[in-house]
């Protein structure tokens, strides 16, 4: 922009050259803004090989170019990053060659811990989203690494602690890749070291480690900041060699811890994770060797013992046959005699049996039976007559008991009983009749006294008409005739005769 308009004719203002005016402006700006503190968000950052850092400081409306010279940049505890909220201290200057102005930064730091942490969280989330921290990316550590690569500062307590602990447990080959562990150089050097170890080939001049340890001692958040840098995290995640991170104290966690295959709380612990204890392994191996010898010895001893036992239990072939042979001898000795004895025994039995089998024996048996028959038949006739006699006697006894006198006496007795009963019946009938007659007479007398006929004796009469007794005058007046009964008989009164005395009809009836 030209600050000087084309001079109008007639104007008498002095004329500046561009350089002059630029110089004037530069002097003015540098004089006016020789020490400023600016709070801003870091915009684009570029780091050319010169070591200077160029960055933009911005807010929502304006942008200010900034530069940090190499010497200053190396001294900064926190390296500026895009998006970081910072407070920059420095001075303003102009760059006349391009008509620009910029800030020369002397010091830059995050605008408070909150801003730093917010940025760290943001970066962590972004890298996690890329999968750099995924558990499936973690590689198992080798059980006994041959060569261990250590990325750390070559001087200081950290490497000493690691070497001491390795020496105690299992001395190994160690390759140290020296790096700056804080400051601007830290992140690029660490990232380069990790990549450099991975780039070594197993057959190269330098032995390729089977395990990496990235270590740093404790420090402030700013001191450890390099291990939060994206380049370091990416290098750790990309490492083909298993990597243990041991940065800061146990309570410090940097982003490399998420990307490493194993996180050790301290450098010493990293050494413990790296190798087993040699003495323990020696003891283990010795023990295994002893068990191996014992195992094979025991196996052989047991087999030998078993063989001996079995051999002892196995009898001699001769003894197997002895008993059988003896039995054979005994049996063959007894054989002829046994045959003879058998024949003899049977012969004897035959003799016994045939001796008793003779006709005389049979005749004796027949005679015996005949005698028995005769005896029995002799007994038959007397037995019959004796039985008849017995039965006859029994009959006679019964017949004697059967006498007619007894029947007659019985008959006589019953006849007398009958006559006596007849007499009693007759007497009873008479007396009963006489009693009933007397009772009847008495009743007749009583009947006479109670009858109206007795009344008639005393002068009363009974009037009847048509067979009915009249007790009222009216009845008598109506009656055609009356019958009066007296004590001694009845008398008819009135015109009309009684039905019995009905007039006889004329013999000759009227003609009509």
């Amino acid at each position: 922009m030209d600050l000087i308009d084309d001079p109008q004719p007639g104007q008498n203002a002095p004329e500046f050259s561009v350089s002059e005016i630029s110089g004037a402006i530069k002097r003015m700006i540098e004089g006016e803004f020789s020490h400023v503190r600016i709070r801003a968000e870091v915009g684009r950052v570029s780091r050319p090989r010169s070591g200077h850092i160029y960055l933009d400081l911005k807010d929502d409306r304006a942008v200010l170019a900034g530069v940090m010279w190499k010497g200053v940049a190396a001294k900064q505890v926190t390296q500026p990053e895009e998006g970081m909220e910072v407070v920059a201290v420095g001075r303003l200057t102009t760059f006349p060659g391009q008509s620009k102005y910029q800030m020369v930064i002397e010091e830059i730091r995050p605008a408070g811990m909150g801003a730093l942490m917010a940025m760290l969280e943001k970066r962590k989330a972004q890298l996690a989203a890329e999968g750099l921290f995924a558990p499936e990316r973690k590689k198992p550590l080798p059980y006994l690494p041959e060569v261990i690569g250590v990325v750390t500062s070559p001087s200081g307590a950290v490497i000493r602690d690691i070497l001491h602990r390795l020496r105690d447990r299992f001395p190994r080959k160690v390759l140290i890749w020296p790096v700056a562990v804080q400051g601007e150089k830290c992140a690029p050097e660490v990232a380069r070291a990790i990549a450099g170890f991975n780039a070594l080939t197993p057959v190269g001049a330098l032995p390729r480690p089977d395990l990496l340890i990235v270590a740093r001692g404790g420090g402030s958040v700013e001191d450890l900041w390099g291990f939060n840098e994206e380049a370091v995290v990416r290098a750790a995640a990309a490492s083909d060699i298993p990597l243990i991170s041991a940065v800061g104290h146990e309570t410090d966690t940097t982003l490399i811890d998420y990307a490493s295959d194993k996180r050790a709380p301290t450098p010493t612990a990293a050494a413990e994770l790296a190798v087993p204890v040699r003495m323990e392994l020696l003891a283990f191996t010795e023990n295994q060797g002893a068990r191996l010898s014992r195992g094979i010895t025991t196996g052989l001893t047991q087999r030998r013992q078993r063989l001996t036992d079995l051999g002892r239990a196995l009898p001699k072939p001769g003894t197997l046959l002895d008993a059988a042979r003896q039995r054979l001898d005994v049996a063959s000795d007894r054989l002829p005699a046994a045959l003879d004895r058998g024949v003899q025994r049977r012969k004897l039995r035959l003799t016994e049996l045939s001796g008793s089998l003779r006709p005389r024996v049979l005749g004796r048996m027949v005679a015996g039976e005949k005698d028995r028959l005769t005896r029995l038949s002799n007994r038959l006739a007397p037995a019959l007559s004796r039985a008849v006699t017995q039965r006859r006697e029994a009959f006679s006894q019964r017949a004697r008991l059967l006498q007619p006198q007894r029947l007659q006496a019985d008959l006589q007795q019953k006849k007398q009983d009958l006559m006596r009963l007849e007499r009693r019946l007759s007497q009873a009938g008479h007396s009963q009749t006489a009693r009933w007659k007397a009772q009847l007479e008495q009743a007749g007398r009583l009947h006479e006294t109670l009858s109206y006929k007795a009344t008639l004796e005393r002068g009363y009469a009974v009037i009847r008409s048509e067979g009915e007794v009249l007790t009222r005058k009216a009845q008598a007046q109506k009656a055609t005739h009356l019958e009066i009964e007296f004590a001694d008989g009845r008398m008819q009164v009135g015109g009309k005769s009684a039905p019995k005395s009905k007039p006889k009809p004329p013999e000759q009836g009227s003609l009509f």
Partner: protein, 80 residues
């Protein structure tokens, strides 16, 4: 029993295999000739482990870098 030759085994593999061989032999249910073969393999494995453990020498070196930050060589480190 793995087929890997003992000489090619890592220390850890040899150690595990040795333990398995010993267990098997101690169970005593292996046939005689097989148990002798087991013993021989176990002895070889033990020797392999012992050799590995004997090679426990410490050697510490630091990498030297050239001007571009690439490894140029090593120099021994002592006194740490």
């Amino acid at each position: 029993m793995s087929d890997t030759p003992v000489s090619e085994m890592s220390f850890e593999e040899a150690m595990r295999e040795l333990e398995a061989v010993v267990d098997q032999l101690e169970r005593g249910d292996v046939a005689l000739d097989a148990s002798i073969a087991l013993y021989e393999r176990g002895a070889a494995l033990k020797k392999r482990c012992e050799d590995e453990l004997k090679r426990a020498e410490e050697k510490v070196a630091a990498i030297t870098l050239d001007a571009d930050g690439n490894p140029a060589g090593v120099k021994p480190v002592e006194g740490l």
